[in-house]
């Protein structure tokens, strides 16, 4: 469901060093008393992006969003939107609208009045307001619900009203605070799709705050992972997943096996790491910025490893280890194996169930070999 890339510079302006960012966040810090909520964050977001701020609770992602909306003023730093300094501009003068986590629909107004609220503030003629409201109701598929009060709507309908209301003024930038948080899983998946479609058709820049990594991966053109008020990593979903820059990012997104190791060979074209935890050497098929005897971490996703009964070749006498299958979780499309290595370390390996009802599948308590390709894992120094 992620956006299909067309031409790199057209759809991925962040790869173009000369592109002008639409939202510029420069060294923004926010303190609440002594508590540092957002710490020296710098971030560029480009036009028509769907940028996800991903982080756990208390990571500062909502505070950053609220500063963009104007509900909080940064303790220091600058926020620019479309080339204008917005740091001290009150919310009602910003070309920004927000969709609230609780939807914040006005309970004493019906759906139409809620959507028209912002338009009335702009003194738009009544006829135009009516047309715009009808257009938005069609967009969110609530044509027959215009006269209902918010409490006569289901959670999913309220969410759509909130979206329509925040889009009514055609903002240049739409902020969404946990937009799908209150929906159940099935509705959430449908709505994710809708949200991307609406965002693409309107070309509005979206900044979405979420704690749900799956949601971020699905929606975003780029993700900013936040941790303790700081940006831990910014990148496209594939970068974040496949090339995490730190143990935090690797562990936060998806499931991962992480082992400690020590560098035994440090060459420009390869690195060899000895890991007692893994009970094997790791041969990494590219150069890494490290030093011999340095202790570092190696992270690999469950699906990047392979299980076999016979000992595979391995790579340069490395990248193979042994263990016993302790547990299997059958997930239908794949099975997740928990393998206990000789060191006692448990790792997870997923295998696609490509053969129907495979009677020869590896089963409980079987001794197995676990192997991986030279570039399957990430070497992490922090």
């Amino acid at each position: 469901m992620a956006k299909k890339p067309q031409l790199a510079f057209e759809t991925r302006p962040w790869r173009d060093p000369s592109a002008k960012p639409f939202v510029r966040i420069r060294n923004v810090t926010k303190k609440f008393g002594d508590v540092l909520a957002v710490s020296d964050v710098s971030l560029d977001i480009y036009k028509s992006e769907l940028f996800c701020l991903l982080g756990g609770s208390g990571s500062g992602k909502s505070t950053l969003l609220r500063m963009l909306a104007g509900f909080e003023t940064p303790t220091s730093g600058i926020i620019e939107i479309d080339g204008q300094d917005m740091t001290a501009v009150p919310p009602y003068h910003r070309p920004v609208n927000m969709m609230f986590q609780s939807y914040a629909l006005f309970p004493h107004m019906n759906v139409e009045q809620n959507i028209a609220y912002g338009l009335k503030r702009d003194n738009m003629p009544a006829g135009e307001i009516k047309d715009r409201v009808a257009e938005l109701l069609t967009l969110v598929k609530l044509q027959d619900y215009g006269r209902r009060k918010p409490n006569q709507l289901s959670g999913g309908q309220r969410q759509r009203v909130a979206l329509a209301r925040s889009l009514a003024k055609r903002p240049k930038l739409l902020l969404l605070d946990e937009p799908l948080g209150a929906l159940d899983k099935k509705l959430r998946e449908e709505t994710q799709f809708e949200l991307v479609k609406i965002q693409e058709s309107l070309g509005v820049t979206f900044i979405v705050v979420t704690h749900d990594q799956e949601e971020a991966m699905t929606l975003a053109t780029r993700i900013g992972v936040m941790n303790q008020g700081e940006i831990a990593m910014i990148g496209e979903p594939t970068d974040i997943y496949e090339y995490p820059n730190s143990r935090f990012v690797a562990g936060f997104i998806g499931s991962v096996n992480m082992v400690e190791g020590i560098v035994t060979e440090d060459e420009p074209d390869h690195v060899r790491i000895r890991s007692a935890e893994l009970g094997a050497d790791i041969y990494v098929g590219h150069g890494v910025d490290c030093a011999p005897d340095q202790i570092l971490w190696w992270a690999i996703r469950p699906e990047k490893m392979h299980l076999s009964r016979e000992k595979p070749e391995g790579e340069q006498g490395a990248n193979v280890t042994r263990g016993v299958v302790e547990d299997i979780a059958y997930l239908g499309d794949m099975s997740l194996y928990q393998v206990v290595l000789e060191s006692g370390k448990r790792i997870r390996v997923s295998q696609t169930n490509s053969v129907r009802g495979n009677p020869h599948a590896i089963t409980w308590d079987e001794p197995v070999y676990v192997s991986w390709a030279p570039d399957a894992g990430s070497v992490l120094t922090v």
Binding site: A69, G70, P90, Y92, V96, M98, Q101, A104, H108, N151
Partner: protein
């Protein structure tokens, strides 16, 4: 062996109400009936019956003696005769004094309510938006005057407003002539607003504290300046509190007796004072009773109307 054990009676526990409950149940009275009956009996004995007595007296005429009104039921030659006098009610309508007193009471109560609302709303809003740890302290300060006698507080106001009172002494420092405040309608307004302000603040506070701040943020986000947000979001959503607070001020203010007699002048005409005069000065119990019944009607009608309006608002909010 176990059968012997089971034949032993269970240990007796001291639950005296159990026996009472059983006996009541034998007569067909359950705990549920009791719970409903208790307040019903209370209301009947201490509210409905006295009200009936007052209504009955209002249909008698004044006479000298004890009690100072004519009996409704008389027995004459073996026939029971019921005599109802409507003259008191006729008098209420025909005598301009009563009509003027009612109108004046409503006017004073209405103006006081509006002033209380204007003063109380910002206070309630400030308390509701204060940091959580301060809210209870601030509410405490609002309630604190209740710990002193109402009479004493009203009386203390005279100390402020009389000719050589605190205010005039203060103004005297700047060479300003003393103001006449006592025995005027102004003093009555001050008294009512001062005394009933907490009744306005408390219900307003409870609605305002529940007001979701994200609604105010959403309004600002959609382009509303603070005053527009106040008019289109805060005010409509606090209507239940405004209605409740206004009723709590308006209704007792209409029948107020202490404040107009202590602070008001001879021209401050309020129905509570008229009633007092009829009862104690003129010893005209039937007339006083009729005034009281009429006042009840005057008060009940706005309550019912406001209740209806409030229900409509709640219904619409659903």
């Amino acid at each position: 062996m176990s059968t012997i054990g089971s034949q032993l009676p269970p240990p007796r526990r001291l639950l005296p109400w159990k026996g009472l409950e059983r006996r009541l149940r034998d007569v067909g009275i359950s705990g549920r009936t009791l719970v409903i009956a208790a307040p019903a009996i209370w209301l009947t004995v201490f509210f409905l019956i006295p009200l009936g007595v007052v209504f009955a007296i209002s249909l008698a005429t004044k006479q000298f003696g004890r009690p100072p009104y004519s009996p409704l039921l008389t027995t004459e030659g073996g026939t029971v005769q019921l005599t109802l006098h409507l003259s008191n009610y006729v008098k209420l309508i025909t005598d301009p004094l009563y009509v003027a007193a009612y109108l004046s009471s409503i006017r004073i109560a209405l103006i006081s309510t509006v002033i209380t609302l204007i003063i109380g709303f910002p206070m309630a809003y400030a308390i509701a938006r204060a940091p959580e740890k301060w809210r209870n302290v601030l509410l405490m300060l609002v309630i604190l005057p209740f710990w002193t006698s109402f009479l004493l507080r009203v009386y203390a106001l005279t100390g402020f407003m009389r000719g050589n009172g605190v205010i005039n002494q203060f103004l005297g420092l700047f060479g300003i002539e003393p103001l006449v405040m006592m025995q005027t309608d102004f003093a009555v307004y001050v008294g009512i607003v001062y005394s009933y302000l907490p009744f306005m603040i408390l219900p307003l506070y409870t609605t305002l504290v529940k007001l979701d701040t994200s609604l105010l943020e959403a309004s600002a986000d959609l382009g509303s300046r603070p005053w527009q947000t106040f008019l289109s979001i805060t005010l409509p959503l606090s209507i239940p509190g405004i209605v409740a607070g206004s009723m709590l001020v308006f209704i007792p203010a209409i029948g107020e007796f202490v404040i107009p007699s202590l602070l008001g002048g001879p021209e401050t005409l309020m129905i509570g004072r008229v009633l007092w005069d009829e009862f104690f000065s003129a010893t005209n119990w039937p007339r006083a009773a009729a005034v009281a019944v009429a006042m009840l009607v005057v008060v009940v009608i706005p309550i019912v109307l406001l209740q209806k309006a409030q229900d409509a608002v709640v219904e619409k909010g659903k």
